[in-house]
């Protein structure tokens, strides 16, 4: 399952298109950056409320396949700039983290 496929299935808005063909192998939910540093797996989709530029740095270090920002929040302009430079995909949704998590779980379980 690719980032693109998941974005289409759930209706995520792509704010920054990094590698949309990247394979999504897992998903991690957390608003604590050190928790993501410690426990997320490479290739995971990261669902969070955080919108600041450090999210991009964490995504690069951990090999995150894409960041999903929930609850209608938007990434900060600096975050967008960094994500474009680092080719990190950022997507947004008006849905809650719970709703996104449920859908991603169903998709990854079937794929």
């Amino acid at each position: 399952m690719k980032v693109n496929d998941i974005a289409e299935k759930i209706g995520l808005a792509v704010t920054v298109a990094g590698d949309l063909q990247k394979k999504v192998t897992d998903c991690y939910i957390s608003d604590l950056l050190s928790d993501v540093m410690a426990h997320s797996k490479e290739g995971a989709l990261w669902v969070t409320l955080q919108t600041h530029p450090n999210t991009v740095a964490v995504a690069v270090i951990k090999g995150i396949s894409g960041i999903v920002i929930t609850n209608g929040r938007q990434p900060e302009p600096e975050t967008i700039k960094k994500a474009e430079a680092e080719q990190v995909t950022i997507m947004t949704s008006p849905q809650t983290t719970f709703e996104i998590a449920g859908q991603v779980y169903q998709i990854l379980r079937k794929s």
Partner: protein
């Protein structure tokens, strides 16, 4: 094992510079990848280096990250001019943090950084003088049986 000169480098870190946080660790990660170091080792070094970099940005005025890469190991030394750590045992406890609230709101300061650095390092040395600064030295060995 080939006998080659170690590869060394150094990054300057600025306290409070959240905008460029992760730049040093990302560059180190990319250097290791280009050298063909196995990805499991690259991942461990990158995680430990990033957490150490964040500690300088969150707590210190300024610091440096110095790395040495040999065929057998990667060593990272992060030295800062900062407040120092009063109680290192306490600082090593998961969940303990002295980070201010606004840093916690960004999702940092969960008290997971130092334990996570230690978890990813084969050798871990933390020295600190209150009012002067902190030096963190970590070594990660590259073993031939490491999985890619």
């Amino acid at each position: 094992m080939l006998t080659v000169d170690p590869i060394e480098g150094c990054f300057q870190l600025m306290g409070g510079d959240f905008t460029n946080a992760g730049a040093a660790s990302s560059e180190l990660k990319s250097t290791l990848t280009k050298l063909g170091v196995v990805s499991n080792i690259v991942r461990r070094v990158a995680i430990a280096a990033f957490e150490a970099e964040m500690n300088v940005i969150i707590h210190a005025v300024a610091g440096t990250m110095h790395y040495t890469i040999t065929p057998a190991m990667v060593k990272v030394v992060v030295t800062d001019m900062g407040p120092g750590i009063e109680d290192i045992d306490l600082a090593m406890q998961e969940g303990y943090s002295t980070a201010p609230d606004w840093v916690r709101e960004m999702g940092w300061g969960a008290g997971m950084g130092l334990p996570n650095i230690k978890k990813n390092a084969d050798m871990f040395k933390l020295d600190s003088v209150v009012g002067e600064g902190t030096t963190l030295e970590i070594t990660i060995y590259i073993r031939e049986d490491d999985e890619g």
